[in-house]
Amino acid sequence: MKFLAMCSTGLGSSFMVRMNIEDIVRELQLPDVSVEHCDISSAGPDSADVFFVAKDLEEAAAGLGDVVVLNSIIDKDELREAVKAAAVRHGAL
């Protein structure tokens, strides 16, 4: 399963989200989950199983598939719940 964190530039916030997702994936011991980050314009529906974006990109990410919209990209508790829920949706937890 692949998680993809996205932001407008693919440099700053998406990378931060990716780091935090990686921590959580380790913490939850999710098997076979890869985490990457990129800018939203280079992502397509086939790029990942679950897409993570901040609120401002909600509209731009619509249509990609399973999109998780985060209120704060540095709120680890919010992210942990979102990752858990996504893992459950995709049968990995």
């Binding site: 932001c7 530039t9 916030s13 931060m16 901040a54 704060s72």
Partner: protein
């Protein structure tokens, strides 16, 4: 290491009431003065926010201003500006009330991973984040960062 990038002279405090444009200009100032970024980089950050780039708001009143490396990043660098007398809301939107601005420059997409990961970790740690937001001097900020790094 974050503590090597975010040195005392790159940490500023302002008690002025600023607009977001002034805040971005001020947080970028130490990097501009050190030659870490060009004036074009500052313009690019402001343009990208003006074009709807409130994504730089990380939550908790903290924003990470940055632009593409090719906009004028000379050296990978980081600065910080804390507004002690109230926020400078991005695009004047109350939901983007930011009073802690970071300015980040990366020379390419891979060179900055270490610094970004430690910044992400430090800001995602509730206790350290609160302490950082309450810090009143550059010395306090650098002590916090070093302590966080040592604990890891």
């Amino acid at each position: 290491m974050l503590s090597e990038l975010l040195t005392a002279e790159k940490i500023r405090f302002s008690s002025d009431s600023l607009t977001w444009r002034q805040a971005v200009t001020q947080v970028a100032e130490p990097l501009l003065a050190a030659g870490d970024i060009t004036a074009g980089y500052v313009d690019a950050m402001i343009e990208s926010i003006a074009a709807g780039g409130t994504y730089i708001h990380l939550g908790y009143g903290i924003a990470l201003a940055h632009a593409r490396p090719e906009a004028g990043a000379v050296r990978t660098s980081l600065s910080m500006l804390r507004l002690t007398e109230g926020p400078a809301p991005l695009l004047d939107l109350p939901e983007h009330a930011v009073d802690l601005y970071f300015c980040f420059a990366a020379v390419d997409a891979t060179a900055h991973t270490t610094a970004m990961s430690s910044l992400a970790r430090i800001l995602s740690d509730t206790e350290t984040r609160e302490a950082l937001r309450a810090a009143g001097s550059a010395a306090e900020v650098t002590t916090l960062i070093k302590r966080f790094e040592e604990d890891r």
